[in-house]
Every structure is written in C-alpha cells, then in structure tokens.
C-alpha cells in the first residue's frame, strides 16, 4: 500500500513543496506539489532517494581521532557525541564567555532553532553564508527601499520585460520562478540578459550583452542616464515616492550609452534599442537586482543602480512589477511562534563588528568571514567554538587554507550536516543530520502574494543513526541547562507550540501540504504607499540618508575594472541546473549526469596559449593549482574563464567527488577579507588565474 506524504525538498535551499510516495518504507516517487508546482521538479529533486541510499555520507555521530582534516573518525553514540559537544561548549563558556561560540546555519525558515540556541547560550554570534551570496543585494535594497532583498516578490509572469544582469535565472532553477519566466516569454514578454558569457538563460533572451567582466555597474548607470534623457520613467511616481532624483540625474550625466558601450565592450546601438524597448514596455519592466552578487568591488552599487531603475519604472506594487511580500499580518492573520523570540535579548557586541565597527550593515546574520579576523587576532574578543549547520564555509568562502589557519585557534569545531562538508571533514565532531526525506522540520512561514505556512514531514524513518536538527539542538540545550528556551520534547509538540497563536492545527496541512493565509492576493493601494518604505525618510531614497551618515556615497563614481595581466584571466563562477553547489557533487545519480566541471575559455584567448577544446589545463593562483578540462568557446569574454562552483572536493570518503574538477574558491588565495566595504559582500570575482596546457595531456603512448 502506497502512502502519500506532503513535504519540502531539501536538495537545495529553494525548498520546493513536494509530494512523496512511500511503499514498504522506501521512497518510490517524488513530485512537485500539484497545488503549487503542478508536479514540476528538477533533476536534483528526483535524486533525493539516491542521497538517502548513499553510503558515502556520515551515518552516525563521529568524533575526530587524529589531527584536524586527517580523516580518522571514531563512531560514537548520540548520547556520547552530545555530551562531548556540551562539555566542550561549557568549557569554552567558563574560560572565554558564551560569546566565544559562533553558530552558523543555512538562512531561511529553519534557522530559527539555531539562532535561538546561540542566543540562549548567551552569544550574539549567529551567522550564515550570506556574505558570500546576497549581502550586497540585501544591503543595496535596504539603502534604497528600506526593505531587504526578500521584501519584494517579482511578478515576472505578468511582466513585459525582464532584465537580468548576471542572474542566470533558468539554471539557478527555482522551479516556480522559472515557470514564471517561461510563462512571461510565452505571453510575448521580452528578456534581456547581461553576462560575461552565454548561459542557459541567455539563449532564451531577446537581447544579449556580453560585457567585459566587472562592468555591469557602467551599463546600469548608462540605462539610468538614457532613460532619464528619453523621459522614459514614471515622473509621477518618482515625484511622489522618491528622494534625491535631481542628485541621481546629475550623477549619471556623463554616463551615456556611448560611454558604457566602450567601457563594457558592447554596441551602442544595442543599448539604445534596449532603452527604446523599455520605453515601450514600462512600467511592467523588472530589473532583477541580482541574487548571488558577491562578485565585484562595485556589486553593491550595481545592485543599487538596478533597483534605482525599478523605482524609475514606477513598477512598485503593480502587476508585472515588484510587489511587497505579504506576511500573515498583512491579511490580519497571526503568524507562527518563533523560538528566537523566547531567547534573551543580548547587549554584548558581535565579534564580527557588525553594529559596532560596521554600523551600516544590518545585524541579522552579520558577516561570517569577519569572524575569522576575531579568531586570528582575539579582537574584539576571541572566538573559540564554531558550529556550522548545513553550512560549509570552506566551499562558500575564498581561500580555505587561510580559514583553517584562523580556525586552528578554536577549541571546538562542530559540523551538523547530511553529508561530509569540507568544513565537516576538518572539524572535531560531525553530528549527522537525517536527510530531508527522513526528517521533520519546523513549520515555515512563506511570505508572498498570498502568504502560507508549510511543513516538512519525514517520508521515511532514518535509514541510519542520524537525527533531525531540532532534536539535535534540543539534546544540546538540555545538557546545557537551556531547556526553558526549547519548550518541546518532539516535533509534534514543537509544531503545536508554533501553531498555537494561529488557531490552526496539523490537520489543516493535510489537504494540500500547506495552509494558505489569504483567499485572494491583494495589492496595497498604490496611492497610499507612504510608510511602506522603511527608510529614514519613508521614501525610496535615491540619495540614502543612512549611507551618507556612515560616510558612504549613494552612488560610487565608476572605476574601470583592472584588466588581467598577460597570460592571466579573471576567474568567474556560476552554477548548473544539475548541482546545488557542493552539496550534491557526490550524489550517485547527479554525479553520473555531471561528474566534473570544466574551464570555459574564449576561443581566441585559448589559441594564443595553445589550448584546444578538451585539453587538460593547469589553473593556478599563487601556490594553488587545479587541473581541469578546457571548454573552448566563442561565447565567453576573452578576459574571463568560467567554471561551475562546488567541484574539486578533497574528501577521500566521497569517492565520486574526490578531486573531480576544480574548485574556484581554493584558487582565491588571499581573498578571504576582500569585501565590498559598503555592501559587505565578498569580491569573489576579483581573482586572476594563470592557465597553461597541462602536462597531464598524453604526449606519448608508452603502454603496450
């Protein structure tokens, strides 16, 4: 007899709603929730059962026996492992204070329990991976709208034109969003794609700009200039809801299409054509402000400029534009309880300096990479224990060697993850989390046009000695005397506690797997948006008060990016629809589809250095060299080389992923603190690498 279970995917952090069919304790079928995705699921989503079956992941708690990273592990019981970790935490707390503990987890709906644990311990140092991802976009959005990057949803489906700067939206693969894009194109909408190379997204575009790496900001400024010049903006909206338009106009005065064409290496005529199209398509034009935009030293300003363009379109709170993400409160409903609200409010400053040294950054998760400074220098105070939950700093931040050096000052490194992360492999304790098909998770609130509550239910019992995150944290909390902050003994009790204020029960999730908190989507009255923008002025601030108070300009004068020295290339990276960064590389089925990455290199540049398509090449930066196959193509800018992020893993127990392909972050030598000072994002595309034909290409046949 088949059983049907509503749940949420966990192969990547999109967390699609799914329905799972189970027979005899085994997963037989997974599809996207019919009510939300009409069955749609990506390759990763289908590969879930292979993750469960994979023997090459931690299947019971492990404690390090040899030196860090030596890979000698002692399997222990959960009781023993949790006692061990709790003892170590207690020791650090006694010697250095609770603030010496840093915990980091994946952002999103399940961070609550980790955040609550950190604060309950007495440490303000909760963090996540975002300084290597969306921090620039988030801060740019805050500085302009007073709302973070998730403050708006993009009504792409109803847009007439979607403009993407390096946002490879179709390969990054959020299925609901991808379907919106395809629907928009089916309805005759236009798409413009800007990148240093052609991508799965760009091949569907009407306009394609292959720009010189690092010049996005110039093109965005030119669009502002030309649209203002052509009066192709919503003057009424700008007058009513923005401040600093005159200053913005003055700033872009010299940023003409002619200037940008030269700077970006694109045709001036094409910029004018795009401006004309935008004039026709506005206001339903969406300029995507970027997702992962920790790339160049002006990425914060590039994202800010893209959002300025949205404001100029007057596309806020209209169909086909940027719509305020509505929470339960917007529909007069109560949301679920949060554990973090129970934990004490702390006044102790953060060790990453966010809120103190860096007053312009939002406190939230702070900036993880700055904790390495605290570990290395002991200032403002030492960090001695690091707990990473489904977060692999060695994969997402540059220069793992530099990270290890800083971490060597710590007394305790703990990894909670479903697989061996590179950080986990270096840590002292691995607490193996059950896979998403084997674990329950907290009830999540999803804001949107229609907000909803959604729940992950385990489809099958854990197939090995692994546990769900809430149980792990609860186990540690109990040992540390923090029981009062975690008022549950099991997930059933936690769900009931979360749901109590809402008046809803678990039975309300049975029909569709989620609970919708609104019957019909409602847009705010566009005449009464005052107060919706949480900036100091309550308006959209082209000139940001907060930035100027902190001594930063609202727009940075454009600086042309450095060209790579002769024989070198700018290393850029991205993702494929098959893999979710480092998480899935060793999944047997996904590994079969894409076992390694390659190095994209421009045909002319390749011929200059004697590299042919398919050759093995050595890619070097400082002391680090990776060897990978070259993919010679016309469709990448000659200054750049590109690879898919997440490969080049060095965990011997992951036999499929071990040394398969190259790792971009290991080549970013000396870049760990190369941060956009205004946006807080790391500059991950500021590394130049040398590329040579490798000696690993066979020259002779010496076998029989």
């Amino acid at each position: 007899m088949r059983k049907s279970v509503w749940s949420m995917c966990g192969m990547c952090t999109v967390r699609c709603p799914i329905r799972v069919e189970v027979e005899d304790g085994a997963v037989k079928w997974i599809e996207g929730n019919q009510h939300l995705l009409k069955g749609a699921l990506c390759a990763k989503g289908s590969a879930g059962p292979a993750l469960v079956a994979d023997q090459e992941r931690p299947r019971q708690p492990l404690i390090r026996k040899g030196g860090r990273g030596a890979g000698r592990w002692e399997p222990v019981s959960w009781e023993f492992a949790l006692d061990y970790v709790a003892d170590k935490i207690r020791g650090i707390k006694e010697r250095y204070g609770a603030q010496a503990i840093l915990a980091s987890s994946r952002g999103g709906p399940f961070q609550d329990v980790v955040k609550a644990f950190t604060h309950a311990l007495g440490s303000p140092n909760y963090s996540n991976h975002d300084s290597s991802c969306g921090r620039n976009v988030h801060h740019a959005s805050l500085s302009l709208f007073g709302l973070g990057r998730k403050g708006f949803i993009y009504d792409i489906k109803n847009a007439r034109h979607l403009v993407l700067f390096g946002r490879n939206i179709l390969a990054s693969l959020r299925p609901a969003e991808v379907n919106q894009v395809m629907d928009m194109l089916d309805n005759g909408g236009r798409m413009t794609y800007v990148d240093v190379r052609q991508t799965l997204t760009g091949i569907k575009a009407d306009n394609f700009f292959q720009v010189r790496p690092g010049t996005d900001y110039a093109l965005a400024l030119a669009l502002i200039h030309e649209l203002i010049k052509a009066r192709a903006y919503d003057a009424g909206f700008v007058e009513r809801y923005t401040t600093g338009f005159a200053e913005l106009s003055a700033f872009v005065e010299n940023c003409s299409a002619e200037w940008a064409a030269k700077e970006c290496g694109v045709k001036e005529k094409n910029i004018h054509e795009l401006v004309a199209q935008i004039g026709e398509d506005r206001p339903r034009v969406i300029f995507h402000p970027g997702w992962m935009l920790s790339r160049y030293r002006d990425s914060f300003y590039a994202s800010r400029a893209l959002n300025c363009l949205n404001a100029l379109m007057g596309n806020i709170e209209i169909e086909g534009g940027l719509i305020f993400a509505k929470g339960p409160g917007d529909y007069g409903k109560k949301g679920v309880r949060s554990l973090a609200d129970l934990s004490p409010k702390l006044t102790i400053p953060r060790a990453d300096g966010v809120g103190e040294e860096y007053k312009h950054f939002e406190k939230g998760p702070g900036l993880f990479h700055l904790f390495y400074k605290a570990m290395a220098t002991g200032k403002p105070y030492p960090i001695k224990g690091v707990i990473c939950v489904r977060h692999d700093p060695f994969t997402c931040f540059p220069d793992p060697a530099a990270q290890k050096e800083a971490l060597d000052n710590c007394d305790l490194l703990v990894s909670v993850d479903t697989h061996y992360s590179e950080f986990g492999w270096y840590s002292d304790v691995i607490l193996p989390e059950a896979t998403y098909l084997e674990r329950d998770s907290m009830i999540a609130v999803q804001k949107g046009l229609k907000p909803r509550l959604i729940k992950r239910n385990k489809a099958i019992e854990p197939q090995s000695d692994t546990a769900c995150l809430c149980t792990i944290i609860k186990g540690l909390a109990r040992r540390l005397g923090l029981d009062e902050y975690f008022p549950f003994n099991n997930l059933q009790e936690l769900w009931a506690w979360q749901l109590e204020p809402t008046g809803l029960g678990l039975q309300d999730f049975e029909q569709k797997g989620f609970v919708e908190l609104a019957e019909k989507p409602v847009l705010f009255d566009r005449e009464k948006l005052d107060g919706k923008f949480k900036t100091p002025s309550g308006k959209i601030e082209f000139s940001s008060q907060k930035l100027s108070e902190c001594g930063f300009p609202s727009w940075k004068p454009y600086e042309s990016p450095e060209r790579p020295p002769k024989g070198q290339f700018r290393l850029v990276f991205g993702r494929s629809p098959i893999h979710a960064h480092g998480h899935t590389i060793n999944n047997p089925l996904l590994n079969e589809m894409m076992p390694e990455n390659s190095l994209w290199i421009n045909s002319k540049a390749a011929s200059r250095i004697g590299v042919n398509d398919g050759d093995m090449v050595d890619v070097s930066s400082g002391p680090v060299t990776s060897t990978v196959r070259a993919r010679v193509t016309d469709f990448i800018h000659p200054e750049a080389v590109y690879t898919v992020h997440g490969f080049g893993r060095q965990i011997p127990l992951q036999t499929r992923a071990y040394h398969a392909g190259m790792s971009d972050q290991k080549l970013m030598v000396g870049q760990l603190q190369n941060m956009d000072p205004v946006g807080g994002g790391l500059n991950l595309c500021e590394t130049f690498v040398s590329v040579r034909r490798s000696s690993k290409n066979p020259q002779r046949k010496v076998e029989l």
């Binding site: 390759a43 590969a47 991808v178 091949i203």
Partner: protein, 150 residues
C-alpha cells in the same frame, strides 16, 4: 497505429535534464542506463544572441520495430496502443534488441542484468497518469500527445 507520442515544446525547455532523472528514478535504474535524453546543437548567433534549441529523444516505438522479432524469448513486445516494452520476467539480457535497433535504444541494466527501455511508463498510463518525464518536467515543456486518426 501508435496511440501516444511525447512532444517537447523546445521554446519552454531550459535544458535542465530533469526528465532524464525523473525517468531513471521512476524505473529505479542504477548508474548506467538513461532511457531518454535532452540534447542541443552548438550555439549559433541569431540577431546577436547566441541561441540553440533543445531536442528530446527516447524510444520511437516504431510501427514495425526491429527489436521485437529479434528477441529470443518474446520479452520485447508491442502493445495494441503501440507501446514497445520489455517484459522483465522473460528478458535474459542478451541485448539482441539493442543490436537490432538502429538507434541503440534498449539499454543494459547492470543491476538486473536485463534490457530496459522507455515504455512511456505504461503502468502509469494504465493508471490514468502521465509518464514520469512529462509529469515532473520542470517547465511543463514535455507533453504526452494522444494521436487521433484524421
């Protein structure tokens, strides 16, 4: 006449290769065989935009299949609605079918030591459902088409 065909709306296909895994996991196949495939031509510039189109390939379920008569055990069969399938119990894994097929469609399953091929997920079709690749296609680009005599 064949009753069914699978059609790919290449305008909607984003080349995510989801269908290949949806198929594989539904059939419980190990590393090795793929019963369908998404492919594309090299990029070509069209009005300044490098473009390509995706194509979907799986068994053609031939009107007069070569693989059926060559099968020594009668495992390879053609149903009335045109679906060509392998009856797993009868298959001895000799792979004569793959040799006879001009496109090498039947594949070897190294776990079961038998031939395996696309059968439009006939168990699902018989239950009133769509094939796995169609049901879960990320962008709903794949469709199961029912042929009609004109």
């Amino acid at each position: 006449m064949n009753k069914y065909a699978i059609y790919l709306n290449s305008r909607r296909c984003i080349g995510c290769h989801g269908c290949e895994l949806h198929c594989k996991t539904n059939k419980g196949l190990p590393v090795g065989p793929f019963l369908c495939e998404i492919s594309h031509e090299p990029l070509k510039s069209v009005k300044g935009v490098p473009k390509t189109e995706f194509a979907f390939r799986s068994c053609r379920h031939c009107e007069d299949p070569f693989c059926v008569p060559v099968c020594p055990t009668g495992a390879m069969q053609k149903r009335e609605d045109g679906i060509v399938f392998v009856e797993q119990e009868k298959c001895i894994g000799c792979m004569a079918c793959a040799g006879a097929c001009p496109w090498g469609i039947p594949q070897y399953n190294s776990e079961s030591n038998k031939a395996v091929k696309c059968d439009y997920c006939m168990d699902r079709i018989d239950a009133g459902l769509k094939p796995a690749c169609v049901t879960k296609c990320t962008t709903h680009a794949l469709k199961l088409v029912t042929m009609q005599e004109l």
